[in-house]
Symmetry: C2
Subunit: 506 residues, 2 copies
């Protein structure tokens, strides 16, 4: 007795997607829908800006942590743990830093229902908890460099609108804090940080970005210079996914991080800090790779890399089930595999796993079994092919690498296509409206350029992101771009001392 | 030209240990010294009870996390992330829980220098942040079981004396929170939790323990029953390293976690929660396996599993160095290896790496090289043997497994030897004074036994730990021990309804 064909391949079961939103036309709605439908997070926690991250997202986020930590360790960083609370006194040591962060700090003031003698800040970033320790640890040249990172979360009482994984009052990241004897060593670290991002975010996850040097009015509070990676969301707005800061000697002076140099003088050290936003990188991965059917997960971070769906007729003899279970056992040695034995139709299951972004679907039915094979369907292109059961264990990881390569090809093309340039304000605004990141001549990236930036922001809601340091897929890194020749600022018309990218932003 | 023998094997260089404290005689001093000398944490952070965990410890702690998470996942648990802050209203829902934890809660009351409308608790444990979500997630039988864990840290404003990795106001752990349809399913989870601890803590890390059912007066605030693993520190005091609680329906009633059963009635679910203390497990591993020379790290969690020390004469021809570097490269494929090229004498290096507990030391000098071999020294027994360079890559992991097995043999013997029993209060106190965990007949593990427990605590500083559920190395698990026959309580002399272990505690 054969399974009725209509049950297995009925067009309605196969073609009705759970989602019905065009990502390219209505990204925001698509993003909110995917978060709900794929079970990525729950927004119903009773504090604004605090979200619950659910297993399907958390598993991928943990993979991203692993990828990033591996890269940091490969370049000589070690993990450590610094407290979440910072005594108010320590928090107030570096003036610019305090001014920048105080409006967003949450304070612990009571314990066991008694008022504390001193307030403790819930750290919005680690500098103020880490650097007092570095002052104790760094004494001589032999103590340098310090290269330490912490995996964890921090708290910022954001006043801007929050968005799951993109902006919240509690967010998951890594922060690396490095100390060097000299400024050139610190600058070399920034170049290394950029290269780590390329390895983890581009080469592994297929998310394209540009590393910008932020204009002086938009740098990290307490830094000499800020460099930041912006990726592009499908609606043409950029998302900052990592920053690295040249801190100079601001903090080493404030916290007394000094070493004895060869001439026995106590001199202040040079510092950098690096903050990849792990949940933002996850958000970018969902947004960049997804399609109208739902998520498309890179193979390397998929919680389930291959799902086996046995196609069984009712009252079948169990051979298919048995073969599917054997396949799961073998496959689990090589990849993260699962079998869907739920009480649903195959079409329902196909849609469900497609929506959740599982890279490979393996269908196994009676006819396939007779041929000692199964049908392998790749999530990104929907292509089907028959694979011998004996070869699946070897084929899936290979196919996974090919899928990741296809995602990179697609995302880099989209990203490159979105880059443009303009010579005047009208052209700039028109192109940004069309979803582009636009390079323009700009009067200055120093403080005196802030007026033009503010005017552009006010008139067009367009942000000045900075000068280019490095593209995701290039080995070239320039911490200080050369000024353009004979061009005029798009806004004020004065001679342009910089070429800067502008765009809308998250 | 040969290297002068005195330089390589001078007894002073080899025999002077950095530490000079007898662990078995003065454990507390030994522990403080090892924490400082091996660089495990820094106690100079400016908030009492908050410590900075340094890389050498953090790397092992991350390994312990990995081990535990792997075991949890193998039994169907998934990771998730719940916020660190709990709105006061949610915090107050379960009465007993609130009473138990309120004295230790730290409160966030201000943000951006404005007073908040509602206080937020820094969670001392996750129930109150997690269960309101479970109430939303659990509706029908198909939503059950829920098996979710979170890796992270929580805050308790302890009034007891703090001790690094053992008791702090911020501590690293995992908490798993499970929901079931029935009480027997919840009880089966407790049995599974005990078995996960055996896998992770005993079979992997070689730390022996007994899982006790805690007396009713010492259970988790809001639980029906608490089961806890106690290990034994070298000073004869026990350390609780994991707990699992039968929560019954206390929290499901307080938070409204209900499902529709087959008869379409909305019924309250049954819950368990499980909290392995990751930093405590690390403390136990340092304390149990260490010796008078310093740490002895189990191979599986050692940040450096094998250190290569080239023995070079000054102005040597570099062949030894070259061979050592090649060895490092090959070895790094199989294990976490490092080479010590610092400007110190071999003896200094030997001591340094011994103190930090590195399981394998590989010495390679001219004579070894001529023989195409190296000297392998195992940290726990100090034994040396010559190994062919071509075989080291295969030998080290095997030797690592043998070292872990030796640690288990030694620790289980010590643990078993420390167990004893007593028939009366005087005998009990004498044996506890001698560093034993002592089993005694006790009037009752119910509320009416609390009087005797308090009297014993007051007179002897001895704590009643509970009735035995399971030994680390046995497959037997009894959630409810049988009452003893014809014995009398060591304190009040009434007929004993329980046999309970007593000891001093951390």
């Amino acid at each position: 007795m054969k399974a009725p064909v209509f049950l297995l391949f009925h067009p309605i079961l196969l073609l009705v997607p759970f989602m019905n939103i065009d990502k390219s036309k209505n990204f925001s709605e698509w993003y909110n829908e995917i978060i709900k439908e794929a079970g990525l997070c729950d927004l119903r926690y009773n504090i604004k800006g605090f979200i619950v991250i659910m297993p399907w997202a958390m598993k991928s986020i943990n993979q991203i942590y692993d990828i990033y930590e591996r890269e940091l360790q490969r370049r000589g960083h070690s993990p450590a743990f610094f407290p979440s609370l910072v005594p108010e006194k320590a928090f107030l040591a570096e003036k610019e830093h305090v001014e920048g962060f105080t409006p967003e700090v949450m304070w612990v003031t009571e314990a066991g229902n008694k008022k504390l003698e001193e307030r403790y800040a819930l750290k919005p970033t680690g500098e103020t908890s880490i650097y007092p320790m570095y002052a104790l640890w760094v004494n001589g040249l032999s103590d340098l460099p310090v290269k330490i990172y912490q995996r964890g979360w921090v708290w910022r009482y954001e006043t801007k609108a929050t968005k799951p994984f993109v902006r919240g009052r509690e967010f998951l990241w890594i922060e690396a804090h490095d100390v060097f004897a000299t400024n050139p060593q610190a600058r070399a670290q920034v170049v290394e940080d950029i290269s780590i991002a390329k390895e983890a975010v581009w080469k592994t996850l297929g998310i394209p970005f540009i590393f910008f040097r932020r204009p002086q009015w938009d740098k990290f509070a307490g830094a000499d210079d800020t460099f930041a990676a912006d990726t592009l969301m499908p609606d043409g707005k950029v998302l900052q996914i990592a920053t690295t800061h040249l801190l100079g000697q601001h903090f080493s002076r404030a916290y007394g991080i000094k070493y004895m140099n060869e001439s026995n003088d106590a001199v202040h050290a040079w510092q950098t800090c690096y903050g990849p936003g792990i949940s933002r990188i996850y958000a970018a991965s969902v947004a960049v790779h997804g399609d109208n059917k739902g998520m498309v997960l890179p193979f390397c971070i998929a919680p389930v890399q291959a799902v086996i769906i046995p196609i069984m007729r009712k009252g079948g003899d169990g051979k298919v089930l048995e073969a599917a279970k054997t396949l799961l056992k073998n496959l689990s040695k090589a990849v993260r595999a699962e079998i869907d034995l739920s009480d649903q139709t195959p079409g329902f299951k196909f849609n469900r796993w497609e929506q959740r972004g599982v890279p490979m679907r393996i269908e196994i039915g009676e006819r396939d079994l007779a041929d000692e094979s199964a049908i392998l369907v790749t999530r990104d292109d929907g292509k089907k092919r028959s694979v011998k059961l004996s070869e699946i264990e070897i084929e899936i990881p290979k196919e996974g690498a090919r899928l990741d390569a296809r995602l990179m090809e697609k995302s880099s093309k989209l990203f490159r296509d979105a880059l443009d340039s303009a010579r005047n304000e009208e052209e700039m605004a028109r192109k940004v409206d069309a979803g582009k990141m636009v390079e323009v001549p700009f009067c200055s990236e120093e403080k005196d350029g802030e007026g033009c930036a503010k005017a552009i922001k006010e008139k067009h809601s367009i942000d000045v992101r900075g000068t280019i340091c490095s593209f995701f897929d290039s080995d070239e890194v320039t911490l200080e771009a050369k000024p353009p020749k004979a061009e005029k600022c798009v806004h004020c018309g004065k001679p342009a001392k910089a070429r800067m990218y502008v765009s809308r932003q998250y």
